[in-house]
């Protein structure tokens, strides 16, 4: 992979069988910024974020055309190492999905996948990743306990730590707080603000207030298309497209 981790998408179409879920998507995502995707359910924003780490490979009869460049390289080109791509692009899902194993083993999962076996090295990665996710004080005494015993918000931060342990450059978050209470949501939003200094973050959110609180740029999706992309304050304060205005003022969706 290249040194730079900006994302450039040109003319991206995506089909599930005969159904076209994404239509001619074009967008530029800059490094060390938080880009939010907003839009009503079923508009394709979750589908789109999954194209960046090729999670849609897992879905049968999903077909994609156009170009998605990360650091200038087409990630759908033949010979792309998907494993390495997913190591460099971490993902946090809508519902916390810790593995039913110890907290330590959850975090050490990706490093072990990539051949790190030395205990001291793993210990360091586990500690620093959990610290980055702001979970250290809550779990440092029970690293060997099963991760399923954590609360929902803690589980989600564990999943963030687990993704960070792979040493990614980009962090994708697919509605990471939609299953959480307001306090846990606030903690994770603060966390995102801290993490953006080191990572490029793309977040799908249902919550427009959340987008205004945490993102630098926002893209508004509707029926598989990007209607408008702009600096977040611009998009919410002074939308150029009538449909964007209707959506953010709550007239539909």
């Amino acid at each position: 992979m290249a040194e730079k981790y900006n994302i450039t998408v040109r003319g991206c179409d995506l089909f599930y069988g005969d159904f076209q879920a994404l239509k001619d998507i074009n967008i530029d995502i800059e490094e060390h910024e938080v880009t939010a995707f907003i839009g009503p359910s079923g508009c394709g924003k979750s589908t789109f974020i999954k194209t960046f780490n090729r999670m849609n490979d897992l879905i049968e009869d999903c077909r994609i055309t156009g170009e998605i460049l990360i650091g200038g390289q087409n990630i759908y080109a033949k010979g792309t190492d998907v494993t390495l791509l997913r190591k460099n692009i971490g993902m946090v899902f809508q519902k916390p999905n810790p593995f039913p194993m110890s907290i330590y083993d959850n975090i050490a999962f990706a490093p072990r996948t990539f051949g790190i076996k030395k205990k001291s090295e793993l210990d360091d990665i586990v500690e620093s990743s959990i610290k980055q996710a702001g979970l250290w004080d809550e779990v440092k005494d029970r690293l060997r306990k099963n991760a399923m015993g954590l609360s929902g918000g803690q589980q989600q931060r564990l999943c963030i730590a687990r993704a960070l342990a792979a040493d990614p450059k980009i962090l994708l978050m697919d509605e990471p707080t939609s299953a959480l209470d307001p306090i846990s949501t606030g903690i994770i939003e603060d966390l995102i603000n801290e993490l953006k200094t080191q990572y490029t973050i793309v977040i799908v959110t249902h919550n427009m207030q959340q987008a205004t609180r945490i993102s630098d740029k926002t893209a508004f999706f509707l029926l598989g298309e990007i209607v408008e992309t702009d600096v977040t304050e611009q998009l919410f304060g002074n939308p150029k497209d009538k449909r964007t205005e209707n959506y953010i003022t709550g007239r539909f969706g």
Partner: protein
């Protein structure tokens, strides 16, 4: 109003009938257990359990034979069955036609009468392969018999592992193999172990397959897996039909206790393993 009253009476009657049916079921079950215990328990003694087969019969050869059969059947059926289930759930599209046909075929295999497996074992292992009557021939036939059960229940355990865990693993850059071995199988372990234990129960209770394949040599200790032998269930049949009704009942008790313990063990293990795991998954 009259109508309404009649309805209520009808419901009450239906409830009573169902209750009576349940009582009958329970009564039949307890009758079997109590009868076998009363007839068999007084005849269980050290000679029968661990003595040498001389003037007085012993089930020591049967205990050893049963153990051999379990080991052979499980060590053959477990890897093949679990492997097939992994292939079916993780590597194929469950909606495809071939997979559906395979699934129907496995279910049909599970429904074949065991004596048919017995005659297959006899023709293949005893006659065609020239094993003669042997524990290995019987064990492999039993393995074939329990395979569909193991495949089916392992498949169910694997399907119960939430998709989100597989996605989580893939998103961290794991290969399919690592995902299966490090995430999916550990999550499904309790279900798989439970199904293997239940399969052991079936192996212990089976007799029809063994009548045709292992020779029913009740009075000699098996010398190895290629030697003929006997099993507990087979001994019940032998004792019963050769003028040892007390020993038959006593062996029945031993078999009953073992099978019940196996089933309890399966339930307990399922619960213990199942805890915490997938609780929020």
């Amino acid at each position: 109003m009259e109508n309404h009253k009649r309805q209520i009476l009808k419901y009450a009657a239906a409830k009573r009938v169902a209750q009576a049916a349940l009582l009958l079921t329970l009564a039949a079950l307890t009758a079997v257990i109590i009868f076998v215990l009363i007839r068999g328990l007084p005849h269980i003694n050290m000679q029968l359990l661990f003595g040498n087969y001389g003037k007085e019969p012993s089930i020591k050869p049967a205990l050893v034979g049963t153990l051999y059969l379990i080991l052979i059947a499980i060590s053959v059926a477990a890897p093949i069955g679990i492997g097939s289930a992994i292939f079916l759930t993780e590597y194929t599209n469950s909606k495809s036609r071939i997979i559906r046909i395979i699934r129907i075929a496995t279910e049909t295999l599970a429904g074949i009468p065991s004596i048919v497996y017995g005659i297959f074992g006899y023709l293949v292992f005893v006659v065609a392969l020239g094993f003669r009557y042997s524990l290995i021939g019987g064990g492999i036939t039993l393995a074939i018999m329990i395979l569909p059960v193991i495949v089916r229940s392992t498949e169910e355990s694997l399907l119960a592992v939430p998709r989100s865990l597989r996605e989580g693993s893939f998103a961290l850059g794991s290969s399919k193999v690592r995902t299966i071995f490090s995430v999916v199988l550990p999550c499904a372990a309790s279900g798989i172990v439970t199904s293997l234990i239940l399969a052991i129960g079936r192996v212990m209770s089976e007799s029809a397959v063994l009548i045709l394949t292992i020779g029913m040599v009740v009075n000699k200790m098996p010398e190895g897996i290629f030697s003929p032998g006997t099993s507990l269930a087979l001994n019940v049949y032998y004792f019963g039909s050769h003028g040892y009704p007390e020993q038959a009942a006593a062996t029945g008790v031993v078999l009953l206790i073992l099978v019940v313990s196996i089933n309890i063990l399966a339930t307990v293990l399922g619960k213990v393993f199942g805890k915490g795991e997938l609780a929020n998954g």
